[in-house]
């Protein structure tokens, strides 16, 4: 009997712990939502107002109208769709090369590819900005096109792992029929890889939606993304930040990404867990 009791208290402790942990992890975001529902007076008052006296739902509407929220969201969407589409295709293309083809120097190239995954992006971003400025590409979306076209090492690795696992017979028959590798890639391998394609697309989309530094560097106030706008534009006439609007806006900025994640969880997690580089 005592063992059952001990097992039961053990289980109870386990679940209490798990619920507490979950609360700890969701807490900061929950507090952000609550912050977005308070008045400025409630936010300035001390001690803290745990709950707003009246939920200020209009903060969300105000955050929407005080700045051109939809315009910034559209900019974010354009950049993220552009980059995610291009980088997914180019990474699949390059990944196919590393998985299915070979030539002298392949090992070295792959070493550089993996090594470049560990290259701090910030170190290339500042000089890249200066070069783009010289080329007149600042304040355009061309940098994202170029970044997209040149594939991302992490996603190349993802595709390479997937393509390497497909059976050889897939391409053999096509080669005997005289098909080129380009045709094999488009007509045989790509249609097989929907799970990786969607994982890659979602991962790249999330990166771009969340990126703060590149748009801040490369784009002007009108063309910039929601990430920058949420961070910098919620100020009153005297230039002081308006915390409740900023909180409401950041909730609206984050929620789409959370929804994308929840819908596409399986592929997203499968893609992310590959970064353990097993």
């Amino acid at each position: 009997m005592t063992t059952t009791v001990r097992v039961r208290t053990g289980r109870l402790a386990l679940y209490t712990g798990l619920v507490a942990l979950t609360g700890l992890f969701l807490g900061p975001f929950g507090w952000l939502i609550l912050t977005g529902l308070k008045t400025q007076g409630e936010l300035a008052a001390s001690p803290v107002h745990w709950l707003p006296d009246h939920f200020q739902w209009h903060n969300f509407a105000d955050a929407f109208t005080q700045i051109d929220f939809l315009g910034y969201a559209r900019n974010s969407l354009i950049i993220a769709l552009l980059y995610a589409t291009l980088v997914t295709l180019s990474s699949a293309w390059v990944g196919f090369g590393f998985a299915r083809l070979s030539a002298p120097g392949k090992k070295t190239l792959f070493g550089i590819l993996i090594g470049s995954m560990m290259l701090p992006q910030m170190i290339t971003l500042l000089p890249t900005y200066l070069i783009f400025a010289k080329l007149g590409m600042v304040d355009t979306y061309w940098p994202w096109v170029l970044w997209g076209l040149s594939a991302a090492p992490y996603l190349v690795f993802l595709f390479r792992q997937f393509f390497a696992g497909l059976p050889r017979e897939l391409e053999e028959a096509a080669i005997i029929d005289g098909a080129g590798y380009t045709g094999i890639f488009w007509r045989i391998f790509l249609p097989q890889s929907w799970p990786v394609l969607s994982a890659s697309f979602i991962i790249a989309f999330t990166w771009t939606w969340g990126d703060y530094i590149a748009p801040q560097l490369l784009l002007s106030t009108d063309r910039t993304t929601l990430a920058v706008a949420v961070m910098t534009t919620y100020v009153n006439e005297s230039g002081a930040p308006v915390p409740e609007l900023q909180a409401a806006a950041s909730v609206m900025y984050v929620v789409p990404i959370l929804l994308v994640f929840l819908v596409a969880q399986r592929g997203f997690v499968a893609g992310m867990s590959t970064s353990g580089l097993k």
């Binding site: 299915r100 969340g210 560097l217 961070m231 990404i257």
Partner: protein
Amino acid sequence: MTVDQITGPAPAEAPPTRHGRGRGRGTSMVARRQRAFYLFTSPWIAGFLLLTVIPMGYALWLSFTTFDGLSPHWRYIGLGNYRELIHDPVTWDALGRTGLFAVTSVPLSIAAGLGLAVLLNRPVKARGLFRTLIYLPAVVPPVGAGLAFKALFDQNSGATNGVLTFLGFDAVGWLADPYARYVLLMTVLWAAGNIMIISLAGLQDVPRELHEAARLDGASAWRTFRSVTVPLLSPVLLFQTVTGMIASVQTIMPLLLAPLGDTTGITTVPQSNYLYMMHVFAQYFALGRYGYASALLWVLFVIILAVTGLLFRFTSGAVFYHVDPEAKK
């Protein structure tokens, strides 16, 4: 480090049908495969040269100059910028803080992620839901995370000070010195779900027989974890250490946590969160010293390269590769 060390063996390839320089079908197939290889990898090769090698080379050149983007009278000063940074106490302080941040945040978040993974690898009810909810913060973009923690730790309206005052303590200025560094650390730990997911994937590859064998030998749970689980996860943990270190060195979270956190508001970052990258931004944006900022970046790059190299060297004996991703075929 070699590629095989971190990725396992390369995918099996069909042996070339014929070696050497003979004519005939076999050789043309090999030549075709080689041409195709370069055709397929060329977008990345071109991108790497144009968007990584050239900018880095450009930064190296700038680091020997006084270029500020405005003045036409910039000139080559050789190692002048490097000499200056060696004698600049602000650089050393920022570097020290960054190092401290990396060596605390990386092990802590790996330990937290691994702990969560072990916990959520147990057969508990609604395991998937717990995993999803704990992972969720890792998907929140940095701007969202920064603002969430700013709201949470606000002097007046923050929940943390709410709890403190409720318990009879004084409110704390979390976002200022000296506490800001702890808030920064917590933003990193908040995203431990990322490491949890990767460790979970690793845990599921650990053959069950190994744990059973250990239990039959009378090993305790802790002993099994230490002697079976951790060694088998070591490649994942090493990769997490390296990428985590590089991410922590370039985190912009201090900017996002600062009062008016934009790139020009660099001066509002509290001293204890003034990391190396903040120093680079300050030189670059606030002072327009592109040459000096480039020198700072190159020094950082060399440091990262050296630390990564040392990490791989010192762990080569301890990291254990057991899974061959291509073995299943």
